[in-house]
């Protein structure tokens, strides 16, 4: 029962971690499906997080704050659009610049506005999104702990999230429907694949792409507002903590499709939930060693059937992993009176720096091992140039 509740809670944390990723991921989906790459998701979320908190605090209404946050995000989207659509600039660079811009401006403006560089005052009451409690649901963790599993599931996972969470979940089928079932979606997908086809069909490439980046702005705005007004009660500097980049990785993992994006974001959310919950994980040395050695063996087998580059890179990586495994073993066995064999069953603590890096490591592993070559929208990243 306790275990079940832990799982339910982990699920709850997963949702909390996944929602901003999901919204940002869908944002990126619209933009990139229209052929505009956007590594500025991070910056847009950050700007939205700041402005929504700031305006919520000032007006006392979180809804006004939400719209302000969305507005901030849309503004940056338009900047990105002007750079990459109107002036056909480099989309990656524009994205990098937007990230810097948001990181700097939020702090500078917060300093001017609230006299506290890098944060807004705490929000409370109507200035913040509260959880929506479904009928009959328990609201307190202490009550839930003693409830039945079904009740735990209902109260923790189904009920009690803020409205933005439900909006994010609804956004998934909605995005799918818009992309695949409407005229707008058809055109949007087409402009990301071959803008010339859209152009010669008599549709404005520029308008369509601007529409896409603005949708991207709206979704990023909600993601940012969620962080500062629902999860937290106020803005702190750099509070997006690289979620924009993880969302991009999720987008690639999902191969630019909405339902898969949901899956990818939940997975990444889960990694972060684990990271946030278990800052210390201990296990028997043998498991650690196996976890290091087995992939090494697999990689070596994979490499020997291929060329020199595979052998060098994978061999090197395996050597490092095996060295770490050996060191773990020796470390575990080096205690007083512990032999090498019993050393295997000593409990070792996994460094929490590793656990903190785990989501990133898993992202790479997933991209490398399970996604294969993700083919982005064909016109993605390239400005549409008719005449030079």
């Amino acid at each position: 029962m306790d275990n079940f509740y832990t799982i339910v809670q982990l699920g709850d944390a997963t949702i909390r971690m996944a929602i901003p990723l999901l919204l940002a991921c869908l944002a990126g989906l619209f933009s990139e499906r229209a052929g505009i790459f956007d590594i500025g998701l991070e910056g847009k979320m950050l700007a939205a997080a700041f402005l929504s908190a700031a305006v919520s605090f000032t007006t006392g209404s979180v809804w006004i704050g939400l719209f302000a946050g969305i507005g901030a995000s849309i503004m940056l989207s338009i900047v990105h659009g002007i750079a990459s659509i109107t002036f056909r600039g480099n989309q990656l660079i524009s994205g990098v610049a937007i990230n810097f811009l948001a990181a700097g401006l939020t702090v500078v403006i917060a300093g001017g506005w609230f006299g506290q560089a890098g944060r807004t005052p705490s929000l409370s009451g109507a200035a913040r999104f509260d959880g929506i409690d479904f009928p009959g649901a328990l609201t307190r963790i202490r009550d839930m702990r003693d409830a039945s599993p079904g009740m735990q599931f209902y109260s923790e996972l189904i009920s009690g999230h803020s409205i933005l969470v439900y909006i994010a979940f609804v956004a998934v089928p909605l995005s799918w429907w818009v992309l695949y079932r409407t005229r707008f979606g058809l055109r949007l997908r087409a402009v990301g694949e071959n803008p010339a086809a859209v152009d010669t069909a008599g549709i404005s490439v520029v308008q369509l792409r601007f529409a896409a980046v603005i949708i991207c702005g709206v979704l990023c705005g909600i993601a940012g507002a969620y962080l500062s007004t629902a999860v937290q009660a106020g803005f702190t500097k750099d509070m997006t903590a690289n979620r924009g980049f993880i969302a991009l990785a999720a987008l690639i993992f999902a191969k630019w499709r909405p339902w898969q994006a949901l899956g990818a974001c939940l997975l990444f959310g889960f990694f972060f939930a684990i990271e946030a919950r278990f800052s210390t994980i201990s296990m028997d040395a043998i498991w650690v060693i196996l976890l290091l050695v087995l992939p090494s063996v697999f990689m070596i087998f994979y490499a020997v059937r291929r060329d020199k580059i595979d052998m060098a890179v994978l061999g090197g990586l395996s050597a490092v992993l095996i060295a770490i495994a050996l060191m773990t073993w020796i470390g575990a066995a080096s205690g007083e009176g512990i032999g090498m064999l019993t050393g295997l069953f000593e409990t070792v603590r996994i460094p929490n720096d590793f656990i903190k890096s785990l989501p990133y490591i898993l992202t790479v592993v997933i991209l490398a091992g399970f996604v294969g070559k993700a083919i982005p929208p064909r016109a993605g990243g390239e400005p549409y140039v008719k005449e030079r």
Binding site: A117, I252, I309, D353
Partner: protein, 363 residues
């Protein structure tokens, strides 16, 4: 036939873009209620007004030259290496390891050994994203970003568990032994009896960076390897036709790139801090992207852009101390510079082209 002479493309476009970025920055400073000209004055004075200021500026510029070159080399192969930050961290690990655990008798030897170690670890850190891009098609932008995060996790671990002296609270290595200390500009000036660059961090690594620029210039435009790297960058299909192995070239270009980013550590870790600290790279890996772009991926351009960003850094740090403008103002200015010179360059180029075209027609 080009629409514009080359000098206009290379000099005029970036310069006007830069001016535009400055104009907007001035408006931002006015908007937060400060005097922009006073602020610019402080920044100019702090970065160029004294040999000490210049020493700081060149110290930062040295970092940016390395990361800028790193980005540029990868760019020539059409690879976007955002991982300079992580690669530079690993470079720091390399420097710290040789400086702390190898008995290096003299700074000259230490410099060579540390440069090699930092380049090696930087390259190793770039190897996996490069491999994944070349062999598995995993997007290098994403993987290098991830490797930045992983590098910082690894660095904290190493600092705390390996390098940190017992009893210290700070996750940082002890100071490197005396013989590994590199001569700073101050030392060099004093040696010739000139009292200058007092306690500024610029050091001999600046010259190593200039050397690296020359080497990269040779590599890219005067060697077969450079020829192949550029060919791959321009057209992978054509490269294949010519018998160039894209996988191999992708690896090589990224290894060189990672090595250069790693070598930044001899400046900041060995030359300045003389110990390894957590946040030593200070975002230089990201600035490198802007520097490479502004410098049009050419070593000479990179030197100029690096010095400019060095001035921004140094000027900004002093600005924050002397006024109530937060340090992040500098981040805003950087963003504007990157935006205008990197992404909005057509805003300047298109009208300029028209001007040159009409001038030509008129004659």
């Amino acid at each position: 036939m080009d629409a514009m002479p080359r000098w206009a493309e290379v000099v005029l476009v970036p310069l006007i873009s830069l001016l535009l970025a400055m104009v907007i920055s001035i408006f931002v400073i006015i908007a937060i209620g400060e005097d922009p000209f006073n602020a610019l004055g402080i920044m100019a004075d702090a970065s160029l007004g004294s040999t000490q200021g210049i020493g700081y500026t060149l110290y930062y510029a040295t970092n940016f030259i390395f990361t800028g070159l790193a980005v540029a080399v990868a760019f020539h192969a059409r690879l976007f290496n955002i991982g300079g930050e992580g690669q530079a961290m690993l470079g720091g690990v390399g420097v710290a390891t040789v400086c702390l655990y190898f008995p290096l008798p003299h700074w000259t030897i230490a410099l060579v050994v540390a440069a090699a170690a930092s380049a090696l670890l930087g390259a190793a850190w770039a190897a996996i994203p490069a491999y994944l891009q070349a062999k598995r098609g995993s997007h290098i932008v994403i993987t290098t970003i991830m490797f930045n995060f992983i590098a910082s996790g690894l660095l904290v671990y190493l600092l705390r568990e390996v390098y940190k002296p017992d009893g210290s609270m700070e996750p940082a290595s002890p100071r490197f032994p005396e013989p590994t200390h590199l001569p700073s500009f101050e030392d060099m000036a004093n040696a010739i009896g000139w009292d200058a660059f007092t306690s500024s961090p610029a050091n001999i690594t600046f010259f190593v960076a200039l050397l690296a620029c020359f080497a990269i210039w040779l590599l890219i435009w005067h060697t077969r390897l450079g020829y192949e790297i550029r060919a791959l960058g321009h057209s992978e299909t054509a490269a294949k036709y010519a018998g160039i192995n894209p996988v191999k070239l992708t690896m090589i270009a990224m290894l060189i790139s990672g090595g250069l980013a790693g070598m930044m550590a001899i400046n900041n870790v060995m030359g300045e801090a003389e110990r390894l600290v957590l946040n030593a790279t200070e975002g230089a890996g990201f600035i490198g992207i802007a520097v490479a772009l502004m410098g049009r991926n050419h070593p000479v351009g990179i030197i100029i852009a690096a010095v400019l960003f060095g001035m921004l850094y140094q000027g900004g740090a002093v600005l924050a101390q002397d006024t109530s403008i937060p340090v992040q103002m500098i981040v805003v200015i950087q963003a504007l510079v990157i935006m205008f010179t990197g992404a909005l360059d057509n805003l300047v180029r298109a009208p300029l082209q028209r001007v040159f075209l009409s001038m030509r027609k008129a004659t």
